[in-house]
Symmetry: C2
Subunit: 340 residues, 2 copies
């Protein structure tokens, strides 16, 4: 038990217009609330930096209420119990709050915490990547939504990202031919040389549609979409008949305001009998045990590789988000808020 009485917290002071700007988020020092019965005080260890953070700052139509102006910024975090007035948790327990914030500490009801399970011999940060929402998203999207089968040709956009890189490797492990789409030669080399992707397309250098036509002449059976816009158009132009698209993200559009136009050649969805299915990982937590068991087996046998990109210090969280949208992170991006 420590004597923490203050916390540092980012509050959303206004909705960003375009990219996140100075003053949109403000870091302040605040007194911590008293801990009531059945409550705990947690200290944040890691804060996940995700494309969805940018959605939550906007008032666009979205899958959770937007963060209110003046409210603490919402985030996915991993934390340790510092003090407990609940019989369910003891100091030192590792937890994931359901209402995580961009903050050094939180006082919360014990009912709003889920226990996290560190894996023997695997860094704690993996609880934010392959054993966290990105890993579950990748598994659900490939297995449940896209329903990939052995022998199929599968494409992944943002393939070097935290979700895409795992999604592609899950498809590989299930016997698919996997083509990744990523930005820059280093990311592409990582996909093919280290992760075992069959091919990678550098969208900054090549026309994605042309490359897909060359690499998948018989069409794409399943596509895992993280980006939207021109990348999705290129995939749709190259889908096989009856192809399935798991729509996981539209990250290319999150910094823009207003409606996101659909595929440029929508008639192909009809003519080629395509299925486009949007999904949000929140709906699929019931599959976590099964998904993480497969991921753990692949990771321990060396068939699944991943990178965690850790930025030090809560104060650097806004810069980390800009890094993410610039595509300059390598691996799952997170901020270390404190040491275990």
């Amino acid at each position: 038990m420590t004597d923490t009485t203050e916390r540092r917290v980012f509050r959303l002071m206004r909705r960003p217009s375009g990219e996140l700007g100075d003053g949109d988020l403000v870091l302040s020092r605040e007194a911590l609330a008293d801990i009531l019965d059945d409550e705990v005080r947690i200290r944040t260890l890691l804060l996940s930096i995700d494309p969805s953070n940018r959605i939550w700052m906007s008032d666009a139509d979205q899958y959770m209420p937007p963060v209110a102006i003046g409210a603490p910024m919402r985030g996915v975090t991993l934390a340790v119990i510092e003090e407990s007035r609940s019989s369910k948790f003891s100091p030192g327990d590792i937890v994931t709050p359901l209402d995580g914030e961009w903050a050094s500490h939180q006082v919360l009801p014990a009912s709003r915490l889920a226990r996290a399970r560190p894996r023997e011999g695997i860094p704690l940060s993996a609880l934010m990547s392959i054993f966290g929402p990105p890993g579950l998203t990748a598994h659900v999207g490939m297995v449940e939504i896209a329903g990939v089968k052995e022998g199929e040709t599968v494409t992944v956009s943002a393939a070097a990202g935290a979700v895409g890189s795992v999604a592609g490797q899950i498809a590989k492990a299930r016997g698919c031919r996997v083509i990744g789409i990523a930005g820059g030669p280093e990311k592409c080399a990582w996909l093919t040389d280290e992760l075992g992707f069959d091919a990678a397309i550098d969208y900054k250098r090549y026309d994605v549609g042309t490359e897909l036509a060359r690499l998948a002449p018989d069409g794409i059976h399943a596509h895992f979409e993280n980006v939207g816009g021109a990348i999705l158009d290129a995939a749709i132009a190259n889908m096989a008949e009856g192809g399935r698209i798991a729509l996981c993200g539209l990250v290319s559009t999150y910094n823009e305001g207003g409606p996101v136009p659909g595929p440029r050649e929508f008639q192909r969805v009809l003519m080629h009998r395509l299925t486009i299915r949007g999904f949000i990982v929140l709906d699929h937590f019931a599959r976590a045990r099964e998904a993480f068991a497969e991921i753990e087996e692949l990771a321990r046998s060396g068939r699944l590789k991943w990178r965690d990109h850790i930025v030090e210090g809560l104060e650097n969280a806004p810069d980390a988000l800009s890094l993410l949208f610039a595509g300059k992170n390598s691996g799952k991006l997170m901020v270390r808020v404190s040491d275990r």
Copy 2:
């Protein structure tokens, strides 16, 4: 056996730009080919007039090769065998050719014919509507693609059309609340007063999005789309979470050239976890027996009503197609080419 030596046939002389124009299709008299072994001569009874006819005339990306310039116009027809050199068919048999044409007669290999089964006490024209591609399309779209379940709210665009009217009644028979979207008060009254739809929206008079929000305040679980464009946008704006869209047609776009833009607010597909699935009835002929059995039972018990709109004379087929795109037909549109 008759002594037919000539036929009348429409040939596609050029690809229409926008609406079908004079001279795009030309009706000519031609000598009929000799009937070789295993071939038959058929006389067309009924020619189906469908939105897809317009697609086949264009060179847009589509699910069958476009009709070649100078070639007979492709059509779905019902025909009678006039003369047979095949042991499989006898004069008087009613058949559906796989390669039907806008023609009074055809000489064809017997292998390119499917036997049609007139239903006792039901007009022959029903083989082109509820027991033909429109009926099968409606059933597959509602049951297989949209997967409607009892108690769901279901919407149908072009609901007074040959496909939409049957689709809506199948959903009603399965215990859904069904809202139709159609053009004009007469069509809407037919849907609610005669077909038993729970509500109908006249898109010419009301804002479809506003009306859907009012009539389906808890969201649409399944939507059967025949139209595309603004109607599809209105449906997408009102889908419940996890809603399914069976994409059957994009008829609002068939007279335009070029790509068909996708939904205006595509992010809703992600945020509301929607599924959009395109389908073409050709892929689902294996389900015909089951679908037509259900349709026949509903029709005989008075729970499924339909209208066949018959235009007399092959020479009027182009005008019939214009009538279809003007939305002025009432019921499944077809041309009577000859009497049985």
